[in-house]
Symmetry: none
Subunit: 138 residues, 4 copies
């Protein structure tokens, strides 16, 4: 599993890790039993403090998303494989609700907002190319 850490971001480093693991699991890119990079390895790779990584892992363990295999590192916990897209959309919704609120306060039109969003999606490589995990529409 590859992490992208931005020390300059306003989002705390430990939280960047937490969120990325959550999304990685929710999107099915990580499955139960998959190993995570060791605290020390991840810390060294991104030149951050091991305790910062450890904090992120501990939170994920408390959340039940990770399991500690003593002496052997952390692995993705055996969370129920929640089939549909629904859980992933639920993770995205807060960000979109916040954006919609801002659009309302800015008195923009729906088309303006959606056109801008479409551009942002393209810039991040989000398309309708069905190459990802296949799932039945609900």
């Amino acid at each position: 599993m590859r992490f992208s850490i931005q020390a300059s971001s306003a989002e705390p480093i430990y939280r960047q890790i937490v969120e990325q693991v959550r999304r990685h699991v929710a999107s099915g890119q990580s499955k139960a039993g998959d190993e995570l990079p060791s605290v020390r390895a991840l810390a060294q790779e991104h030149a951050i403090n091991p305790m910062t990584v450890s904090k992120a892992y501990s939170l994920l363990e408390a959340e039940g998303l990770l399991e500690r295999r003593r002496g052997m590192g952390m692995v993705i916990a055996d969370v129920r494989p929640r089939g549909g897209r629904a859980p992933r959309l639920a993770l995205l919704e807060p960000a979109l609700r916040a954006a919609a609120l801002q659009a309302a306060q800015l008195d923009l039109s729906a088309t303006e907002a959606q056109t801008l969003f479409a551009r942002c999606l393209r810039e991040h490589g989000v398309t309708d190319d069905p190459t990802g995990p296949q799932e039945r529409p609900e």
Copy 2:
């Protein structure tokens, strides 16, 4: 001008105030000379610390968006009405970029993300109905 303050939000209170004033002005819902609620009134109404309100107002004053009228509180400064959508869209873009990044990490399709966004916009009353402040060519 009505404020919506959420003490439980991750966004600092003073920043919530700043952003809401910015959007209100950018969208033309507040015009030069409009008065803002007094520090004490706003603080009492939302049960927050007056210093927090004062900090927000001071930032906006430093930004040039507000002016301090002695004995009369703060009023919207005489900023040139910037007609176009461009500035308002620029204010919205960061939120949408963040959402697009999350959609990418969640491995969602563009259609899924936009369908959800459309729903969020509707829930916040954002439509294509041209009832808001019209764009005025200079």
Copy 3:
């Protein structure tokens, strides 16, 4: 709220704090809105590192038992006032189950185990006196 911290215990300090807050709330000795000692105050009182206290508070916040009042410290969250004894007994049960398992492996009789438990309860000031929390000999 008074804390009893034993640095020599095998139980980590941050966990001692977490458990004591949990029990304090479960037993009704702390109610929603009650303030906790500040991180620095608690750290200084027991000569421990502020970060250790902060870790405990953060875990309790993630658990929903505490709320952060920004710039004003932590308070007991508005958890549903769970009336009965049932939740409190549930918190005690794991310890008693472990003890019962040990009694079984030691091939002790029920009376022997219960007599010993009765003595332990007395030593900790647990009686049937229905007058609320009494001072306990330490």
Copy 4:
């Protein structure tokens, strides 16, 4: 001799083994000369690291409870059979003291705690059926 190992427990695996052997011997269910499962057998049966089993056995050997018979594995050492209940009760007491402390902090009554303990004992098959060594307390 049957072991019950829980990798998910907070108690270290090696310690689970040590404690179970101790109780087995203290209760007379294992006698001097009885063989223990081999390190490899025990490790394989519970899918744990052989070094973990070996560590437990070594501790017990250092304690004098086990003896290493070359080529024959470990056997229970020739410890004097200490007839009384006192040693066995002493092994149980720490668990009960911890439980009593929790009961005190939870502001439970003695009767509540003991009723719950009685149920836990029954669930583990601990009765007053006089199958073990009889003795009169005090």
